[in-house]
């Protein structure tokens, strides 16, 4: 799957320009500082850009089909069954009035998914079947994020767009969710774009990265190469920030009090 020349203008202001990248079987990280346009790029791919925005570029599917990103109706037909979003704040995206089971059943039916069941989906994301009877407000942040992942899987997407799916979780829940996400995408052959601002986190499950700044791609390639020789100041800052965490592993018990 390939994205060609993604651009987005709002009231004549370019918010995204000339974004090209492909997702070729290995998870791709979309990195950049706050406001770089990461989430907006995902919304454009889903046909959910602001209504007044002017969108350029195209999405080229695995079968060669070319879909103009300005064609909101065509993107709406792809949304869910081909491209699915795993949102940042899952708890807020769940229907507060309905049990987890009802929400899963609705999507299984909507997307004619007879292969999965609510129980099998929850098992797949590492939750037990007792969660089926729960309402969203009784779930922890990590549990809600897993339910959101199960809902995304119910659509059987070809490409999963994960928008900072762990930013509201503690490090323990974050590591568990990322490991589950990677395993599921491998088993189900789902392509993955992970939006994040943390290079170390991206490196945990992605091999390649596209770095955005102010709506443009400033660097892309293998994460190992980017880390070894960052070329753009934004990338240098991301690498430096990730490296500072290394102090944790270089500590020895013989070090001073701080």
């Amino acid at each position: 799957m390939r994205i060609e020349g993604l651009g987005c203008e709002l009231d004549g202001r370019p918010l995204l320009a000339g974004l090209d990248f492909s997702v070729d079987g290995v998870p791709l990280a979309l990195l950049g500082p706050s406001g770089a346009g990461k989430s907006l790029a995902l919304r454009c791919l889903l046909g959910l850009a602001p209504p007044r925005a002017e969108i350029h570029g195209a999405l080229i599917l695995d079968d060669g089909q070319r879909v103009a990103l300005a064609d909101v109706a065509a993107l709406a037909r792809l949304r869910g069954r081909v491209l699915t979003l795993l949102p940042q704040a899952a708890a807020a995206s769940l229907d507060p009035m309905r049990r987890v089971e009802a929400q899963l059943r609705e999507l299984l039916k909507l997307y004619a998914n007879a292969e999965d069941s609510p129980t099998s989906l929850l098992t797949r994301v590492g939750l037990d079947a007792t969660m089926l009877r729960r309402h969203p407000h009784t779930l922890s942040g990590g549990q809600a994020q897993r339910v959101a992942l199960a809902l995304a899987l119910a659509c059987r997407p070809a490409l999963l767009l994960a928008d900072e799916p762990t930013s509201s979780l503690d490090n323990l829940a974050q590591a568990q969710l990322l490991d589950a996400l990677l395993a599921i995408c491998q088993v189900r052959e789902i392509q993955l774009i992970l939006v994040t601002h943390d290079l170390a986190l991206a490196g945990r499950i992605c091999r390649r990265a596209v770095i955005l700044d102010a709506g443009r791609v400033v660097e892309s390639g293998d994460i190992a190469d980017i880390v070894a020789a960052p070329r753009h100041p934004v990338t240098t800052a991301l690498v430096a920030a990730a490296r500072r965490a290394d102090a944790l592993w270089s500590l020895t018990a013989a070090d001073g009090m701080t």
Binding site: P33, A175, D246, D255
Partner: protein
């Protein structure tokens, strides 16, 4: 290495056997903490460990306390509400969702001045050196002083919350997951700011689940799980050779950059 709780210097805020009850159940039990000017302590643990409850208790927002909590030598547990006044003057709490706790009708400058007036401090004029300086310290453009919270990003609002706490010139700063919503480069800028504040004599209690922020930032680490302290000690000892499975899991969970 000596036990921090018996180290030199007077603890401004001291908890002994502190317990916090919520709905009749004790959610935190038997907690000892000493916070001194110029020193820093981290309270770490997974979600639901009771970290935020401890912070609320330390500013008088948890009504059902057991054990002892002293500010400047005066006992607060069981004391009348006015006994908390000296603590309110000397201690600032920066919430995890500081951005959502800002009055949406006040500009950044007004928000900071509100905190100063409550503390009996002189207002800062918009454009003044002091106001610009505190905004720069939290990595905000001083030009944002006239903006309303609604026109700022979530990360900017979080930093306004910290600037507001600093504007009150506290002796102790309690910070709840200060950096978890921020870009990593900005998060490190704030960590550097906290280190500087500490060097300048402020006492710190940091609540976090991110152990990578702690080396060079805090003297002592206290690990909480289900409301109980499962491990504590000097930062280097706890982080380099964690004894408890929870501490080890927290350490392993820190995303690590794999250098080629």
């Amino acid at each position: 290495m000596t036990d921090m709780s018996e180290g030199p210097g007077v603890a401004l805020l001291r908890a002994r056997g502190l317990g916090i009850a919520l709905g009749g159940r004790e959610v935190v039990t038997g907690l000892d903490i000493d916070l001194r000017p110029g020193s820093a302590v981290a309270l770490v643990g997974p979600s639901g460990a009771g970290k935020s409850a401890v912070l609320r208790a330390m500013v008088g927002l948890e009504p059902a306390l057991r054990g002892s909590l002293q500010f400047a030598g005066a006992e607060l547990v069981g004391a009348p509400a006015r006994a908390w006044q000296p603590l309110r003057r000397g201690v600032q709490l920066c919430w995890q969702d500081a951005g959502t706790a800002l009055d949406p009708h006040l500009t950044v400058a007004q928000l900071l001045n509100e905190a100063r007036v409550l503390m009996g401090l002189a207002r800062w004029r918009v454009g003044s050196v002091e106001l610009g300086e505190v905004l720069r310290r939290v990595a905000l453009d001083p030009a944002l002083a006239r903006r309303l919270p609604g026109s700022l990003s979530g990360g900017q609002r979080q930093r306004v919350g910290l600037a507001r706490a600093l504007a009150a010139e506290p002796a102790l700063l309690l910070a709840d997951e200060l950096t978890s919503a921020l870009d990593r480069p900005v998060a490190w800028e704030l960590v550097d700011l906290l280190r500087g504040l500490r060097q300048a004599g402020m006492g710190l209690l940091l609540v976090t689940h991110d152990l990578s922020l702690l080396p060079g930032t805090v003297d002592e680490v206290i690990v909480l799980r289900d409301g109980e302290v499962v491990e504590r000690g000097p930062t280097a000892r706890v982080l380099a050779a964690p004894q408890h499975p929870v501490t080890r899991a927290l350490r392993t969970a820190v995303p690590r950059l794999h250098s080629p």
